[in-house]
C-alpha cells in the first residue's frame, strides 16, 4: 500500500479513536477503506475527504455505539500510575542498594508519597492534555516533553525536600519484590484494558433477518 494511504489510514484510526470508537469498530472502518481504495485506485483524501471530517461523519452516524468519554483518564488509571511509580521507586532503590552492597534499607518518606500524588495530578494536567494535543497534531512534540519535564522536576524537588520522617523502611530484597508486584499488577491491568485495532473476520457480521 502506498505511503500516503498508510499515513491517511493512521490518521483516520487516531481520529476514530478520539471520536470514541473501539478497536473492533476502527478495524472495520479501516478494512473497508482499504478495500475501497484498492478498487477505486484514487488518493484517499479524494475518496473520503480529510480524515478528521470523515471520522466525525462516521462517528456521528453511530453516536449511540461510541464510548461516552473517549481517551479520558479514569480514577483507576490514576491510581495504577501512582502505584506503578511507587513500584519503580521501591524496585530501583532496592536494586541500587543490592548492587552497591550497601548496608541500608529502602525508606520512603512523605516526599515519596507526595511525589506519587503529584504524578497523578500531573497526569490529569498538564501531561495528558499535552499528549492528547500532540496526538491530535494540534501541537508539536515539545509540548508533552516540556510538560513531562515540569512534572518530574516538581516531584523530584518534593522528594528531596520532604524526606523526613521515614514512613516505611524495607530491606532491599522485599522492596524489590514489592516493587515488582506493583509494576506487574499495573501492567496486567493495562494489558486487560487494551483495545487494539482488530481486523474483521469472516464470521463477523449482523443478521437482522432472523
Amino acid at each position: 500500500m502506498p505511503r500516503p494511504e498508510l499515513d491517511y489510514l493512521d490518521e483516520l484510526a487516531l481520529e476514530l479513536r478520539f471520536a470514541g470508537m473501539d478497536g473492533a469498530q476502527i478495524g472495520s472502518v479501516l478494512e473497508e477503506a482499504r478495500d475501497h481504495l484498492a478498487a477505486a485506485d484514487q488518493p484517499p483524501e479524494e475518496v473520503f475527504g480529510p480524515a478528521k471530517e470523515y471520522a466525525a461523519a462516521l462517528a456521528d452516524s453511530q453516536r449511540e455505539r461510541l464510548q461516552p468519554r473517549p481517551m479520558s483518564l479514569t480514577v483507576g488509571d490514576l491510581i495504577a500510575n501512582g502505584l506503578q511509580f511507587l513500584g519503580f521507586l521501591l524496585g530501583f532503590r532496592g536494586a541500587m542498594i543490592v548492587l552497591l552492597r550497601e548496608d541500608a534499607a529502602v525508606d520512603l518518606g512523605p516526599g515519596h508519597l507526595a511525589g506519587a500524588g503529584l504524578l497523578m495530578i500531573g497526569l490529569v494536567w498538564p501531561l495528558w492534555p499535552a499528549m492528547r494535543a500532540y496526538l491530535a497534531r494540534r501541537t508539536g512534540f515539545a509540548t508533552p516533553v516540556v510538560a513531562c519535564v515540569a512534572v518530574v522536576a516538581v516531584f523530584v524537588a518534593v522528594m528531596q525536600w520532604w524526606d523526613e520522617p521515614v514512613l516505611i523502611a524495607l530491606s532491599p530484597v522485599p522492596a524489590i519484590g514489592l516493587g515488582a508486584v506493583l509494576i506487574a499488577v499495573c501492567w496486567v491491568r493495562a494489558w486487560r484494558l487494551r483495545d487494539p485495532v482488530q481486523r474483521p473476520s469472516a464470521t463477523a457480521g449482523t443478521d437482522h433477518t432472523s
Binding site: S28, V29, E31, E32, A33, R34, D35, H36, A38, A39, A40, E46, V47, F48, G49, E53, Y54, A57, L58, D60, S61, Q62, E64, R65, R199, P200, S201, A202, T203, A204, G205, T206, D207, H208, T209
Partner: protein, 115 residues
Amino acid sequence: MRDPQWLRGVLPLLVLAVLREGECYGYDLTRKLEAAGLGTVKGGSLYPVLARLEADGAVAIRWSEPTSGPARKYYRLTPAGHEQLQAGASRWLAFTEHAAALLTPSTSELNDATP
C-alpha cells in the same frame, strides 16, 4: 447538473433501492449509483450513510473471506430496510411530485416566453 444538497437528503433511500437488487459492497454501490445517473458519490458521503443504516438495522452486513488483500464488507437489505425503503420512497415521490408541479412553468408562461 445535480446539486450535492439534493443527493445528501435522499442518499439513504437510494442506497436501500440499490440494495433491493441484491447484496453489494461499498465501491460497487458507488458505481451502481453513478450508472443510475446520480454522478460520483464519494466514499466520504456513502460510508457514514451505510453505517447509519447498519446501526438502524435497515441493512445487515457480512465480511468476505479474502484470498488476498483486504476483506470486503457486503451489505444486504433487511425486512426493516424494505419497510424503510417503501415508506421513504412514497414520501419522496409525493414530495417530488409537488415540487415538480410548482416548478413546471404553466402554459401561459410558456406562451409568454415564446418569441
